[in-house]
Every structure is written in structure tokens, then in C-alpha cells.
């Protein structure tokens, strides 16, 4: 994939090509194998009829397997608590998708996951592991909140886009820092983004105890009710569903266009696949890494803005800790993105699914007395099974007449 001028069509082929084991030999975080791309252009390896029939489904095999495995693990836990798994899962599904209101709640819960998930796709495709979603959400929320406070009286049609953009800038800034540290100082981004999360959590707590706290006698860590002009408008239908869902879908489409239909995205993915070759081909590797984390952070920052202005209280609330505000979306968004095979568009339905698990969890708790925390632990199981079953998929793909796992590289 060396020569720059003629590389493009060839590049698409090679960069979206699954590259399991050769990635692994490169010694960095090697995320290429996580993507579910099945570029179809597999050389014809003789394979049985069954294998050929199954070939298109290999890409779906990983999330399907992970989901089934997680459900089984969950069922074992439920049984051990003396609950009937079928009843529990039934309640979970009804609670998540059973009525218009439930669907709306699920969608509201899914928005931050999808937004973070798109950001995760951008970072992971560049082979940058962004664990800093939590902090980037918080910074986005702070930036959006401050913006709305400064421009209280700007009409809604302007203020809503302003707070969203402010969120993107805040989160993007918080992502760019570890990005630049990785690119220019060689700091492991996993560790720096985690530290940035801790700093952001304390910053939120500080601001809500001090500069941004609601004036008055009651010292609760929250802002005043923010400008009504910044409220995210509700969608018709009489549910809690607001335009955040459209913002999430828009960001997912933009994320897709950025990653797969732009020169910048090609550069990012190329750097993600092979930084050395990209460098050799004249690409700005360091800049790409910084950009990837900045874009990733921007998506998370938008999630922060949506969490504030789409909330029913219309305040930024830090009471109960930062995780109570972010709803752990910075981590759960990773789950959604992985489940969506690191594709921005597929991340949206994946988020809806996980949003549903989170909303349905409380219904399950009510019906079976099994705490909703079960869902969080199952999310962890899903992650483990998704990344753990990639090797299995590679085997399956080879068997089904796909490419040998390192085929596209060399």
C-alpha cells in the first residue's frame, strides 16, 4: 500500500480488510481485528456449500455469539438468585420496548451511548483507545452549561445549536490533550484518558460546589435551572423523546462520512492499520492521532450537552458523583461501539439495544427483586465475549472461504 497517488482504491480494500493476527504481531493495541468489515472481495478458496451459505453471516457471528453468551451468563446469575430467567428477561424486554413511553425512555438512554459509541469508532479505527469518554462527556457538559449561562436570552433556534457545539468543543478539547500527549510525547492514551476522567470528575465537583452552584441556601451540587431556550425540543408524540435522538443519528452519519467517505477518514484508518506504512506514504501520523482523539472527544462532549439539556431537570447535576451524571456512558458507549463492529451506523441500533437493557433493568428489578446492576455486569460480559471471540471468527471466516486473516496486509 505504498504509493500515494494510485493507492486509493487499493487502500479501501486493504484498510478495511480484517487483519487479525498480523495486527497482533505489531505489538500495539491492534484494533483492526475488532472491525466487522467483511469486504466481500475474498479470494475464492474452495469451500463446502454450507460454508458458502454461511459466509455472509460471519460478520454478524461475533455480536450474536457475544449476546447469547451474555444472556446465558445472566441466566445463570438469575437462577442463582432464585429468579426465573425467562420472567426476568421478559420484564426486561417489556420494560425496554413494551410501550411508546418505554421505547422513548430507551431512546433517551441510548443517545449518549450512541454519541460516545461513534466517538469510540473514530478513535478505535485509528488504533487509539479512548477510555476517556467519561471525562469528555463531563467537559462537554460543563462547556455547554457555561455557554447557556452566558447566553441565556439567545433564541432557542440559535442557543440549542450553540450548546451542542460548545459540548463538542469542550469534549474535543479534553480528548485532544491525551491525543497530543500520545502523538508527541509517547504517553499511553489508555492511562492518560483514565487520568483525565479523574481530573474531570473532580473539576465537575469543584465547579458545582463553587462557581456554578445554584445560588441560595441549599448546597446541592447542581446548577440553577438552565435557560429554557437551551432545552432540547421534545418530539411530537407526548413522550420524553427529544431531538437528541436526531442529533445522535446525525452524528452517526457524519461519523460514517468522516471515516469512510473522506480523505481524512482514510488517513485515520490507514494510521490505525499501519502507522509505519502511513508515515512512509507521507501521512501526518501524529496529527492523525491527535485528531482522532479530538473528534472522539467531541462526540462524547455532545453526549454531555445532550445529557444536560435533554434531562428533565434541565440542570447540570453532580450530586452523587460524576458517574451518576454520565450514567457510565463513557464506558457503556464502548460496549455499544464494539457490538456495532466499530461502525458508526451500526453503533446506533447497538446503543438502542443497550439503552433498552439499561431502562429494562429497573423493570426487571421491580418484578424479580434482582438488582438492575446485573445489566452493568452483563455489559462487561458482552465486551469480554466480543473481543474474546474474534479469534473464533477468524477461524470461521477462513473456513467459510473468507480471507486468511492476514491476507490484506504485507
Amino acid at each position: 500500500m505504498g504509493v500515494r497517488g494510485k493507492a486509493r482504491p487499493e487502500f479501501r480494500l486493504t484498510t478495511t480488510w480484517d487483519a487479525g493476527s498480523s495486527n497482533a504481531q505489531r505489538g500495539d493495541m491492534a484494533l483492526g481485528s475488532l472491525t466487522g468489515d467483511d469486504d466481500g472481495a475474498a479470494p475464492d478458496v474452495p469451500a463446502g456449500r454450507l460454508a458458502r451459505l454461511l459466509r455472509p453471516f460471519v460478520g454478524v457471528a461475533v455480536p450474536a455469539f457475544a449476546a447469547i453468551a451474555a444472556l446465558i451468563v445472566g441466566a445463570v446469575m438469575l437462577l442463582s438468585f432464585g429468579a426465573n430467567p425467562l420472567v426476568a428477561y421478559g420484564e426486561l424486554v417489556t420494560g425496554a420496548f413494551g410501550s411508546a413511553d418505554n421505547l422513548a425512555d430507551t431512546a433517551v438512554r441510548a443517545m449518549p451511548l450512541a454519541l460516545v459509541g461513534v466517538g469510540i469508532c473514530i478513535a478505535f479505527r485509528t488504533d487509539v483507545i479512548n477510555i476517556g469518554g467519561e471525562g469528555q462527556i463531563i467537559l462537554g457538559a460543563i462547556a455547554a452549561t457555561v455557554t447557556s449561562m452566558a447566553f441565556d436570552d439567545v433564541p432557542r433556534v440559535l442557543l440549542v445549536p450553540m450548546v451542542i457545539v460548545a459540548g463538542a468543543i469542550g469534549g474535543g478539547f479534553w480528548g485532544a490533550i491525551p491525543g497530543a500527549l500520545k502523538a508527541y510525547a509517547g504517553v499511553n492514551e489508555i492511562l492518560s484518558t483514565i487520568m483525565m476522567n479523574i481530573v474531570a470528575a473532580h473539576l465537575l465537583s469543584f465547579l458545582l460546589q463553587d462557581l456554578l452552584i445554584e445560588p441560595g441556601a441549599i448546597k446541592i451540587q447542581q446548577t440553577r435551572r438552565l435557560s429554557e431556550n437551551a432545552d432540547l425540543p421534545l418530539l411530537p408524540g407526548g413522550t420524553r423523546l427529544h431531538i437528541g435522538v436526531l442529533i445522535a443519528i446525525l452524528v452517526a452519519v457524519l461519523g460514517y462520512l468522516l471515516l469512510f467517505r473522506s480523505a481524512l477518514g482514510m488517513r485515520l484508518r490507514s494510521v490505525g492499520h499501519n502507522p509505519d506504512a502511513s508515515q512512509y506514504a507521507g501521512m501526518a501520523v501524529k496529527k492523525s492521532i491527535t485528531q482522532a482523539l479530538a473528534f472522539s472527544g467531541a462526540c462524547c462532549g455532545i453526549a454531555g450537552a445532550v445529557l444536560v439539556f435533554g434531562s428533565e431537570s434541565h440542570r447540570l447535576i453532580g450530586e452523587g458523583g460524576a458517574a451518576a451524571f454520565t450514567q457510565n456512558a463513557g464506558f457503556n458507549g464502548i460496549v455499544a461501539a464494539l457490538f456495532g463492529a466499530l461502525h458508526p451506523i451500526f453503533t446506533v441500533p447497538a446503543s438502542f439495544l443497550f439503552g433498552g437493557m439499561l431502562t429494562g433493568g429497573s423493570d426487571m428489578q421491580r418484578a424479580t427483586q434482582v438488582p438492575a446492576a446485573l445489566v452493568v455486569s452483563l455489559n462487561g460480559v458482552v465486551v469480554v465475549f466480543v473481543v474474546g471471540s474474534l479469534r473464533l471468527r477468524d477461524r470461521l471466516r477462513t473456513w467459510a472461504g473468507g480471507i486468511a486473516s492476514y491476507g490484506g496486509r504485507a
Binding site: S21, A24, Q25, R26, G27, D28, M29, A30, L31, S33, L34, M77, F81, I129, I131, L181, A185, G186, V187, N188, I190, L191, S192, I194, M195, N197, I198, V199, H202, L203, S205, F206, Q209, D210, A323, N328, F331, I334, V335, L338, V370, P371, A373, L374, V375, V376, S377, L378, N379, G380, V381, V382, V383, V384, V387, G388, S389, L390, R391, L392
Partner: protein
Amino acid sequence: VSDFFTVSVLVATLASGIRLATPFLLASLGETIGQRSGVLNLGVEGVMLIGAYAAYITALRTGSVAAGVLAAMAAGAAMGVVYAFITVVMHATQGISGIGIFLFGLGFTDLLFRQQVGTPVPIDGLRGVDLGWLSELPVVGELLFGHSVLTYAAFALVPVVWFAMNRTTFGLNVRAVGETPEAADTLGVRVNVVRTQAIIIGNVMAGLAGGTLALDVGIFQQNLTSGQGFIAVALVYFGAWRSSGVMAGALLFGVVSSTVLQLKTLGIIVGASSTIAAMAPAILTIVVLVLVSRRIGAPSALTVPFERDS
């Protein structure tokens, strides 16, 4: 401020710094062993939570702190087996599977706690050992001779880990499979077996670190570790994969934390500004990572799964 600079306050701060350093030290030493073998375990946070809960519930049910310690280690070992399977056998991407372990630990311990305990019940936690006249010595007695068994064990492990890594066959094997697994394999070292052992040892220590934390504060709550496991991973980089460096990092973090607490207690920093001070360890970590990242290399095969070419 002058309140802080009195002998008794300084000694108390340092002593509590040593106490707070214990979980960091245990977890980081364990992570060091795992990383030297070429496996990054980002799930330390989750394993610590599981160890903490195991220690808490066991101590609560049996009334025995020692049983709690053993339970924490057993829970860590179980997680080690799981993690070894995920990374060594299934070749899962290590950074991300660690996040999975973290989420699992976070949710699972919360789940068990709500299911089995509900409202927080305090337990009789760790006590400092009584070393007779040593503990009564001025300054030194309070500083060094009033800690719990686990604190002494953690610090005793520093030379033990150093010795094991540098003067034993096992340590040589661990380092070999972490640097050049192919060469080690050629020499007959069973790479994946050594890595599995290193991972299990590391996870036992992470579980123990969590147990120490729970027994120290005598309570369990959701997300008890609040990021300490992640800091422990960072400390391995901080300490440049050496047990002495890791110890220095753990002590630094312990003392910074205890100083912030002490300043808050004394009213020197009040209200919201204590949260600014609480950022210090995280910012310090980033600064240190910037300083060390270029100079000291990680084990060459860190995060690279091993498979024999067929």
C-alpha cells in the same frame, strides 16, 4: 498552614500515607509481574472490586479478617483464570477486555452487595499489629510500627518480587516471554503457561489489594475502589516495570492522598478547593507518564498474544 508542619501531624500524615499506599502497592506489583510477561491487565479495577467484596462479605459472615483476606485472594485467582483464558487462549485485545472485566466487576459486586447485604453494615476491619516496645517508640513507632499485617506483607513483597523476577528461573522465564516470546519458545519455555501463571499471580495480588481496601475501611459500597485500580496500572509505567519504582510510586500516591485528607481535616484547604487538591494524583500521573514514556521501554511483547507459527 503552620498547623500542618508539626511533628505529630507530619508523622500522622506519613503514616496514613503508608497505609493508603498498600492497595496501590499490592495491585501494582501484581500488574508488574503480568506486564513483564507481556500481558496488560486493565481490569485491575474490576478485580480489586471483586476482591474487596469477597473480603467484605466473608469477613461479615464469618467474623474473621483472615478468612476475608483468603477470600479476596481466591476471588483474584478465579478472575486470573478467566483473564488468562480470554487473553492467552482467545487472544482478546487486552486493553479492551480489561474494560470488560472492569464493567463486570463494577456491576457484579454492586449486584451481589445489593442482593446479599443491602444496607451497608460495617465490619471489624484490619487493626495495626502491636509490636510491643517498637510501636511505642516516638515518631518511628507511629510511622513504621503500627501498621496492619497486610501493609507489612505488601512492602515485604517488594524485595520478594524483585528477587523472583531477577534471580529465579521463573522470573527469567516471565521476562523472556514478555520480551521475545519466540526466542523463549525456541528454548523450550512454555510461553502461554508462563503467562497464565504470571496473570494469575497478578490477579491474586489485585484481589488482595481490593480486600485490603475493604478491610481497611471496614465497609463495602458500589465502586469502592473509585479508580485506584486504574492508577495502579499507571504506577507500573511510573515505576518502569521495577518493583522498587512501583513502591516509590505507590508511596508517593499514598502520601499525596493522605496529605490532601490531612489538609482538609485541619481546615487548611476548605470546601470545594479540596476537590482541586484531589486532582493532584491524576495530574501527577500524567506528568510522570510524559517524563518516563520516552526514556523507558515497556516489555517488547506487551499486549502481543503468542501463537506458534504452524
